[in-house]
Symmetry: C2
Amino acid sequence: MKKAALLGCGIVGGGVAAIFRDNAAYLEKSVGEPVELKYILEKRDCSGEPWANLVVGDFSVIESDPEVSVVAECIGGVGVAYDFVKRALLAGKSVVTCNKQLIAERGLELLELAERKGVFLLFEASVGGGIPLIRPLTNCLSANRIEEVCGIVNGTTNYILTQMIQCNQDFDSALADAQALGYAEADPSADVDGIDAMRKICILADLCFGSNVPPEKVPTEGIRGVHAEDAMLAERLGYAVKLLAHAKRLDGERFTAFVAPHLVAKDKLLANVGGVMNAVLVRGNAVGETLFYGAGAGRMPTASAMVADILDTMRRGNGRKFIEWGPEQPERFVHPDEVPARWFVRCSGALGGDLADACVSADGFCAAVTAPMTRAALEERLQGVAVESVFRVLD
Amino acid sequence: MKKAALLGCGIVGGGVAAIFRDNAAYLEKSVGEPVELKYILEKRDCSGEPWANLVVGDFSVIESDPEVSVVAECIGGVGVAYDFVKRALLAGKSVVTCNKQLIAERGLELLELAERKGVFLLFEASVGGGIPLIRPLTNCLSANRIEEVCGIVNGTTNYILTQMIQCNQDFDSALADAQALGYAEADPSADVDGIDAMRKICILADLCFGSNVPPEKVPTEGIRGVHAEDAMLAERLGYAVKLLAHAKRLDGERFTAFVAPHLVAKDKLLANVGGVMNAVLVRGNAVGETLFYGAGAGRMPTASAMVADILDTMRRGNGRKFIEWGPEQPERFVHPDEVPARWFVRCSGALGGDLADACVSADGFCAAVTAPMTRAALEERLQGVAVESVFRVLD
């Protein structure tokens, strides 16, 4: 009999509890012995819940119970969640989490602690919800040098951009719709300002490049600066506007990582990922391009990824979990503005010189895509132009 | 130090040898100790090859060397490959293979043998080349009941169909182009008649539904019956023609599995997978739809999947690899013709009744998509109609 404990039983935690309740026979078959959720740590009144008999209010009950081999953290943030995860690892328990902030900010320290204690810290659910991504990246593609990871990792912003493109809505009205549908929070900042996507690309970059990428180092631009005119003119040029989290190996061991709106050519799969769906493209030196697509959030997808991680810790005896994630190497990080890119430029009035021929125009604006250049070269090129928007083009 | 042996050093085997040579430091970091390719079993003269010093001609050298913990099989077929894989497992060595015929036809027996000997039999490279698929399915999605697996798993036929759609080519001319480019073999039957795809869907169905699906039970239709007119009329109706390998859970424990050309609505990602690329959609009861995309074949993608499997056997101590793949349960298998589907029908002349309104026509043909019905109901419906083509529509 293998026993787990759950910290926090809100949306995702409730999904984890439901899977343990509904799929018990199935989980047992998967692990090779019975599997039980022994405790749920929850402060609120849960007397009406089907799992009320499992609730404890004090973490030390879980921490000190040697029967609990794995703890699943669904509290969120880096306050008590950090404290409890650390104590669980110190007590020799494996930890599974969907907490991207915790992993992005404290992953290095917690992974080192897990390694020292000979237990696992798994976080498949922290990026891409239910989409298998972390394990394929660290395990299935382990014979590859990962060259690039690039994806749509925030469903809220992808929904808003899809509405702007398909219904010609402006940002404020698309955001209001997303809020009405429950796809965006009352305070939408973590989504629309790119912070959620930034935490996810930190985790992916950590894993791909093997050294810690502190969140505060990652240039992050959300979608508040994307206008209906950008979406429309991009469309005319054959592109869709997508908020991408992007990490790329450059020459030698250097790399960049950032979050920003991009134009994506419509014949690429990423351009066809609509609504709240997520998709992440991974390019390896042997495998070439692979892409992983699915629901990037939501109760059951995220819970299913957490339960798979829980089962994984239960099945593996002393197997070694390979994750190369060392200390920060600041000299490897290159600001994305220094990396040449093609740029989409929208301006009021006209674009002169070599861009004039390639322009499309509507409603008094004109737009074109430049040749590859750095941000500084672009700014020099655009002196005197009444620029409205500038976004990178994905190549 | 962990040591591996390679059986067969052709296209894929050569890629495996190259990864061991070029990425040695990287592989060592991944396993936690040095990793070596000790032997290559190859009958042909290899004196000019960089790995010539590793070549042995007699499998018993590998079989009897206790230093070799894992054997990678790249011979193909079910003749000597079957014999050597069985002997390797009996000798207590893990086996990694890209041989889909071997796994589709003998997987059950070989997995039971591996389990009995306490070693691994891994075959990530047998389906989808370098695309991580088997491990995500059996591990990352292990908290799900898999409802459906459906994908483009043969690059040759996808290339031919893409040419037919985009360039309005007929089958024979697109096949000749594919052969000229090296995407199709001189004898293209295994690809164009769907046999390769059928072996892959057998493996996926085995894993998803937990009981053996013998290849001879799986109805298999290739693309020789797809005409340029089908592609064109499908396009007008808003669909692309794709050869899909399809396995689906029906009511209760019953399921179907088959290979056939399908019409795929153009707003689905699968419709946008062009050229030689592969993509597999997996639907789980918790995660919803996920999709895995990438190069489905080729030297380095396939080799990278094999090396990842090799590293996995080396890293895992006595971890239990969970694969539920039991004996055949014939009563669970339902012929796909008994499963209601919408159908694309192309005929010369006119389609009457309720289909007349929805018809598109060109070049003396007309085509429409029916309501959902079984094949028998469709045939009754089409009595007296000069039917040219009938394909399922993916829903």
